[in-house]
Amino acid sequence: MRQHNNLIKNFVNNKDMADVVFLVGKEQTRFYGHKLILSITSLMFKGMFFTCQWKEISHNKEDEITKIRIPDVDPKVFLAVLSYCYQQKPKITLDMVFDLYKIADKYLIEKLKKVC
């Protein structure tokens, strides 16, 4: 399990095989993600990726990566959420705990919410 965790850690914000990119915050910082893994942890992501009907996905040309804008979140906090989705182990610092809680709530990541 630990080995597995170490292996999957390498995929956090890794462009390899990524099928979604998030443009986060005012600076539109790019974060790469994998739909399948995100859907496992977050109900919201699951809903978003489940049908291919939405604007984010359906307007894609073939092979083009899905782009999702998230203007209202601090990139630092987003990265914490992202790595939680992959490793299920939260790295929480006190300065971001409330922001993290808010996102966990919005994105329907129950466990992370509880940890906060």
């Binding site: 809903g47 049908t51 984010e56 006190l94 919005k106």
Partner: protein, 736 residues
């Protein structure tokens, strides 16, 4: 981490502010537009992120109520619009369009379920309201499926299609599946829409359909054809369930079909001319198999088959074991028929009734019934086996022999009075062993081992004892011959090849020891043997049984020499003719002192059978005291070795009665033992309890008659083993 930063969280922790009206209106406007787009199938113009965020904002802004209520409203409006449209469609396209619209509606509301996920999670769940998707299903159910122009039409058309399919027309099963699935999908725990609106009505139509069909079909077809059709129909219905109905409908549907097709007509099917009984009679195992398979599906079906089967086996058995079926005193046919019937049952059980343990038991019970109808059957069994064993199961392979034995033993297992079988078997075995003829020891031992398996070790102990005696006798006789040649006693006597069988009393069926005058030579041999045997086995007592001995002699009759094989009695009679020409029966009787009946049999065999060594003065079969016997000088035979063993060939009436008497005596002893054993253990017992206990103990050997047990109790009271209580006459006490 620095603790100075602690001021930041406090700011964020404040509960989110309730939204102001203008803001709510703006956000709701976004949602309403988005739902409209979805209903227009324009979702691709919408950003999931945005709508999700809008919904999220409304919920955390405390407007979950408002959002939820208004959503119900617009979904309802949409559903109503769909219903209006669908209801106007002509019958031809009605189902197709309805299905297309339904599929669309479902997809739209699956998407809505995703965007309103936050509402489901943090509003509906908390307030224990249905999630958004269930709301949608409810709206479809109420606004579309219950619409007056849709509800009955839909049901009628679906049932119509199924009716068509039952009449072998091809229908669109995919469409059926999708529409019937729709009933299921709009159902929920509280409201089983599928069952109430579809299934119940479908089951009713199905029952009505088969009610009509089965009445019609049974009146114009044989049972076999009818059942094949029913079986096919049941298969079709199972496929129907698999293709487009709910799994839960399966058992109900099949039950409805079975009730109409089978239960309704059960009586007819069992008793009709081509029905169950007829199938059994004609050994139609395939038809019967189908009959059984179908009937076990209905309540009480198996029992009714058992009833027919058991009645048949009993009736058939009764006619098979009737004494009248015995021709020329040969009971082999009777036994063959019993085995045949049992075999037939076995085959039916295997081929038609799937080796059902319940049916096997019923068949066995029926066999027990008819096999025990004829009191002499155990005896016939033994005589049947005797024939087979004497011929060493001629013409049968090892496997067939084995099977034949197993079959006989199946019958033995059914005997209530196994003790009768035992006695007669011992009786016949003794005869076979002592007849002096070659027997197959291997087969005899195999048979005994099988009896042992069926009836237990104790049952065969005497039989095994007999074999042991035979073996010991061989050793003894070898020793004796050695003794003769070394002791020199031979010189004084003419050489006779003496063979003595020493039989342990108790193992062998007792025959009354009868005296007879042996004549000088034989007497000397007997004396020498007695002397020899007692010197080796001190304290024993030898009783000679001349009546079952055999002899081989060389005789010259006319010009030819023959070897004659005969019984000892015959020999004794014949030896007299060495010195005299003519002898009357009376004289022979006096000179040999053989019991009159036995002597008569012996002389009959020599003077009336095929081989006439002696001539009798009078005609007819009877022998009178004054009849004169002479040697038949004209005797001729192609064979050099001539057997005159008629006496031993068939079971004689006195012998049979003797065996019967012996059985009765044994039973009395066994009952006595059982009574004493029981009373010794229990000390005090009521009459009825004692009877029950004794019967139970003896049941493996025979079924004791109550009257006999009563008699034995009386007898034991007379002999002071038991006594009655003075004040309670039906209570016994054991007297130590």
């Amino acid at each position: 981490m620095s603790w100075e930063n602690i001021s930041i969280p406090v700011k964020i922790l404040k509960p989110p502010k309730e939204l102001e009206k203008p803001q709510v209106d703006r956000l709701w406007g976004l949602i309403r537009d988005a739902v409209e787009e979805i209903h227009q199938m324009n979702a691709s113009s919408l950003s999931f992120e945005e709508i999700y965020w809008t919904c999220y904002s409304l919920v955390i802004g405390g407007k979950g109520d408002l959002l939820y209520e208004r959503l119900i409203q617009i979904i309802g409006q949409h559903a109503t619009k769909q219903a209006d449209m669908i209801s106007k469609i002509s019958d031809e396209y009605f189902l197709v369009i309805l299905n297309a619209k339904w599929q669309q509606f479902k997809l739209q509301h699956l998407m809505m379920q995703d965007i309103f996920m936050y509402l489901d999670q943090f509003y509906a769940k908390k307030k224990q309201k249905s999630p958004v998707f269930q709301l949608s299903m409810q709206q479809w159910r109420e606004k579309v499926l219950l619409q007056e122009n849709i509800k009955d039409r839909l049901l009628k058309m679906l049932l119509g299609l199924i009716h068509m399919e039952r009449n072998s027309e091809v229908i669109d099963r995919v469409l059926m599946k999708s529409l019937i699935q729709m009933y299921l999908e709009v159902s929920n725990k509280e409201l089983d829409f599928y069952t109430t609106e579809f299934e119940e009505k479908f089951l009713l139509t199905s029952a009505r359909f088969y009610h009509v069909e089965s009445q019609d079909f049974i009146s114009s077809n044989t049972c076999g054809t009818y059942l094949k059709k029913v079986s096919l129909r049941l298969k079709e219905e199972s496929f129907r369930v698999a293709h487009y109905l709910s799994k839960s409908t399966g058992p109900k549907l099949l039950k409805a079909c079975e009730d109409e097709n089978l239960k309704e007509h059960a009586k007819t099917l069992l008793s009709m001319e081509s029905g169950c009984l007829e199938m059994i009679k004609r050994n139609k195992s395939d038809d019967l198999k189908l009959f059984y398979e179908l009937f076990t599906r209905i309540e009480g079906g198996q029992d009714s088959i058992i009833e027919v089967l058991v009645d048949f086996v009993k009736a058939q058995g009764e006619s098979v074991v009737k004494e009248e079926t015995i021709k020329e005193k040969d009971p082999s046919d009777l036994i063959s028929n019993v085995i045949g019937l049992r075999d037939r049952c076995e085959i039916l059980l295997k081929k038609s009734f799937g080796n059902s343990p319940v049916l096997a038991k019923s068949i066995n019970d029926a066999c027990v019934y008819f096999i025990n109808l004829n009191d002499r059957l155990p005896e016939y069994l033994c005589s049947y086996l005797d024939r087979k064993l004497r011929m060493a199961f001629k013409g049968m392979s090892e496997e067939e022999t084995n099977l034949a034995m197993v079959r006989v033993l199946q019958i033995v297992r059914f005997l209530k009075n196994k003790d009768v079988f035992k006695k007669f078997y011992e009786h016949f075995l003794a005869k076979r062993l002592l007849s002096g003829r070659a027997i197959s020891e291997e087969l005899e031992r195999l048979m005994i081992s099988k009896i042992k398996q069926a009836c237990g070790q104790q049952f065969t102990s005497k039989m095994e004892g007999m074999f042991l005696d035979m073996k010991l006798s061989n050793e003894t006789i070898d020793g004796f011959k050695n003794y003769l040649s070394t002791s020199g006693s031979l010189e004084k006597l003419p050489s006779v090849d003496v063979n003595v069988r020493v039989l342990t009393q108790g193992f062998w069926p007792t025959l009354p020891a009868q005296k007879a005058l042996l004549g000088e030579v034989l007497n000397s041999y007997c004396n020498i043997f007695t002397e020899y045997y007692l010197s080796a086995h001190n304290g024993r007592k030898l009783l000679w049984q001349y009546n079952i001995g055999t002899a081989e002699i060389q005789a010259q009759i006319g010009s030819r020499k023959y070897i004659l094989v005969m019984s000892t009695y015959q020999l004794l009679a014949l030896l007299l003719f060495n010195s005299t020409e003519k002898l009357s029966f009376k004289t022979i009787l006096q000179s040999t002192q053989i019991p009159a009946y036995d002597l008569m049999r012996a002389l009959q065999a020599m003077s009336l059978g095929k081989i006439k060594i002696l001539k009798k003065s009078s005609r007819g079969k009877e022998i009178n005291d004054d009849d004169i016997f002479t040697i038949n000088r004209k005797f001729r035979s192609k064979l050099r070795r001539v057997k005159i063993l008629a006496v031993l060939k068939s079971e004689t009436e006195p012998e049979r009665n003797r065996t019967r008497e012996k059985i009765d005596e044994d039973r009395r002893l066994l009952i006595d033992a059982a009574i004493v054993r029981t009373m010794k253990a229990r000390k005090v017992l009521m009459h009825n309890d004692l009877i029950i206990e004794v019967t139970k103990q003896l049941n493996s050997r025979f079924t004791p008659k109550t009257s006999l047990i009563k008699m034995r109790i009386e007898n034991l009271i007379d002999r002071d083993y038991l006594e009655r209580f003075e004040n309670e006459r039906r209570k016994y006490k054991y007297k130590a």
